[in-house]
């Protein structure tokens, strides 16, 4: 990559922002560069809009609507800015809600600096970033455990067997490279499958997904 990925931090805990900045700087990784930070929804919207970064690391839980509010106010205006949710919350509804609001991925705050940098570079390149936990949630959401869900749009409401396989390997902690080797496909194909799953998660009106979204008043 010719120029470093411009990263913007949004988190209401100053201590955490400082920690992430220090960790990313300590990596001495020339692929990324932290260009700004914000401690509230309003501040984030103003700063991101005035100087759009490449990737926004977004906290899910903040006063005034949280990361979702930032996504809603910025995502439509600046579709090129990529959002990566970064949160301590492990609640499925939180995770699914920010994904449906437009985030390209979700990682937990316990992620190591190295992995975070990799994730940032990946979403900046257009990939989706699925932590094992997110993969589990999505599998859960698309399962037919509570009886078969009515399928309104097979294109959106069903996962292909291959996508399911990829998701399961993600949930088992496999890296893209390992998934590719396991399934005898190219890394690019793995990325395509994951992006497709992300799109379905964002757009599908499956009951479980809509429920999670409507619980958060997203739809």
């Amino acid at each position: 990559m010719s120029h470093p990925v411009k990263v913007f931090l949004v988190d209401d805990h100053a201590l955490f922002r400082t920690g992430v900045k220090a960790e990313l700087a300590g990596l001495d990784d020339h692929r990324i560069e932290v260009v700004g930070e914000a401690g509230s929804v309003g501040e984030a919207v103003v700063r991101i809009s005035s100087q759009p970064p490449d990737v926004v690391l977004l906290d899910v839980h903040m006063p005034d609507g949280g990361g979702r509010a930032v996504l809603e106010q910025v995502h439509a205006k600046l579709p090129d800015v990529v959002f990566l949710a970064l949160s301590v919350s492990d609640a499925a509804e939180d995770v699914i809600a920010v994904i449906r609001a437009g985030a390209r991925g979700y990682v937990t705050k316990t992620i190591s600096g190295r992995e975070l940098a990799d994730a940032v570079v990946r979403v900046a390149a257009g990939d989706a970033v699925f932590s094992p936990r997110l993969a589990g949630f999505v599998l859960d959401a698309f399962s037919d455990r509570n009886g078969p869900a009515p399928v309104a749009d097979p294109e959106l409401d069903l996962l292909s067997p291959r996508e399911r396989e990829v998701l399961k390997l993600l949930a088992r902690g496999y890296a893209y490279k390992e998934i590719a080797a396991q399934l005898f496909i190219s890394i690019k194909t793995v990325e395509t499958h994951v992006s497709s799953v992300l799109r379905k998660t964002q757009k599908s009106n499956r009951y479980e997904l809509s429920r999670w979204a409507s619980d958060r008043r997203l739809v």
Partner: protein, 466 residues
């Protein structure tokens, strides 16, 4: 109903003991006035207490006297029960002036005249029907007033202002209530002419009570609201105490431990992880603080809960991160218990030998099979080279799964990490809650102990990358 008339609501039967001369609101306490007294000083005392001219009080007593002598009885009762105020030190007890005395006698005479007139007209008899319920209401109110503490009385007094306050609503209510009371009285008057006495008396009583109820609506509302407020306050207080207790027991203790162990980063990490997991369970878990409280599942009653518990134990014991991802869930039975135990052993192996900081655990329940994958990116090993004496792998994992009709697959290569895949059929009837322990669910799964079909594979090339 014998219709013993009693003093109106705003004259407490038994005044508070004369500790000071004023109530907390700054109103003079109800005491009999030794100065200017005509008879017992009752009217003067009430006038002081209510801050109205003494003549009004006397006139009220006279009017009440018309109602079957209620005024007379009320005066007598008050005379008996209301203590006399000790005279101010310098002030001589002096009788009332002649003008006031004459006025008082006049009022008394009018009262007696009214009483006689009412009796003569047969009025008193009927009034009894109205005064009975009113009197009972007054007794009840007086008791409530006695039982209330000072703060509550003060609140009620403030609410009382709302009854005749400046708002239009309260005026309408007051007018409506009075109309009903008057209506009640009139009905009985008409009843004298048209209806049978009992029927009209009943209507009169009902109308009167409804009228009184309407006038006192703010009091009732306040009573109900008080009750609700009190209950809410109690719940909040309990909630707060519970949170405080929890934070103290867990977070504060852990922080104290972390400060003392600051030099040992491994121990600090272990403490922090353990505390995080506990707090998370408490906040978001099925039995947690933030859950809606529907159907709380006790820990280790389901596969997901047991596996998470096992992962937590490994985290605590070996100070490494274990991140379980679980899709689907099923109630525990003995086979699933074996699955969890085997998975736990696999985690222990990874924690001990793989030299990693993180283990991935993934479990799914799909198509009647429960599977657990325990994976690490550690040093790995050659499964073929593992001696038969390695009890952990052979007995605790393979043997256990075999006995429960399941499978165990170990995929590992030196330098590429290890993955242990465990799966077992979910017994069809295992959703019956009672077979979670030993001996349950035997009938549904035949030959659970020595199932010859239980396949045990252990080859590096089964799923390994080629």
């Amino acid at each position: 109903m014998a219709g013993l008339p009693l003093p109106p609501v705003d004259q407490p039967l038994l005044p508070p003991p004369p500790a000071g001369r004023f109530t907390p609101d700054g109103v003079p306490k109800l005491t009999r006035r030794p100065e200017d007294s005509i008879l017992g000083g009752v009217a003067g005392g009430i006038a002081d207490h209510l801050n109205v001219p003494v003549l009004w009080v006397r006139a009220t007593f006279a009017l009440l006297a018309m109602m079957a002598g209620a005024g007379v009885i009320a005066y007598a009762l008050l005379w008996i029960f209301v203590p006399q105020r000790p005279p101010a030190a310098r002030q001589e007890i002096r009788p009332a002036g002649p003008v006031e005395r004459r006025q008082a006698y006049g009022v008394a005479a009018v009262g007696v005249a009214l009483l006689i007139a009412a009796t003569a007209l047969g009025f008193g008899q009927v009034l009894t029907w109205v005064l009975g319920p009113l009197g009972l209401a007054a007794i009840g109110a007086a008791f409530i007033w006695r039982e209330a503490d000072d703060a509550r009385r003060a609140r009620w007094r403030r609410t009382a202002a709302g009854i005749v306050g400046p708002s239009t609503g309260s005026w309408w209510r007051l007018v409506g209530g009075c109309l009903l009371v008057i209506g009640g009285l009139s009905v009985f008057a008409i009843g004298q002419l048209d209806f049978t006495a009992v029927r009209s008396a009943l209507i009169a009583v009902v109308l009167t009570l409804v009228g009184v109820a309407i006038i006192t609506i703010p009091w009732w509302l306040r009573l109900v609201r008080d009750l609700g407020d009190e209950r809410r306050g109690r719940i909040q207080e309990r909630e707060r105490a519970e949170i405080a207790a929890h934070l103290h027991d867990s977070v504060l203790q852990t922080l104290a431990l972390i400060q003392r162990q600051a030099g040992d980063s491994r121990e600090v990490q272990r403490l922090a992880r353990s505390q995080e997991r506990q707090l998370r369970t408490w906040l978001y878990g099925p039995t947690g603080y933030a859950s809606a409280g529907d159907a709380p599942t006790p820990a280790s009653s389901s596969l997901a809960a047991s596996l998470a518990e096992a992962a937590g134990e490994i985290e605590d014991t070996y100070a490494i991160a274990v991140t379980p991802v679980i899709v689907g869930d099923v109630p525990m039975d003995q086979h699933l218990a074996a699955l969890v135990a085997a998975a736990r052993e696999a985690m222990v192996n990874a924690a001990k030998h793989a030299q990693v900081q993180e283990i991935s655990v993934y479990a799914e329940v799909e198509d009647g099979t429960a599977s657990v994958f325990v994976r690490d990116r550690g040093v790995g090993f050659d499964p073929a080279a593992v001696g038969v004496d390695r009890r952990g792998l052979a007995e605790s994992i393979r043997g256990r799964m075999e006995r429960h009709g399941g499978t165990a697959t170990v995929t590992s290569r030196p330098g590429e990490g290890t993955e242990v895949e465990l799966s077992v059929r979910v017994t069809a009837g295992s959703d019956a809650g009672e077979d979670a322990g030993e001996g349950g669910g035997e009938g549904a799964e035949p030959a659970a102990t020595d199932d010859p079909t239980g396949t045990v594979r252990s080859h590096a090339d089964a799923k390994g990358p080629s």
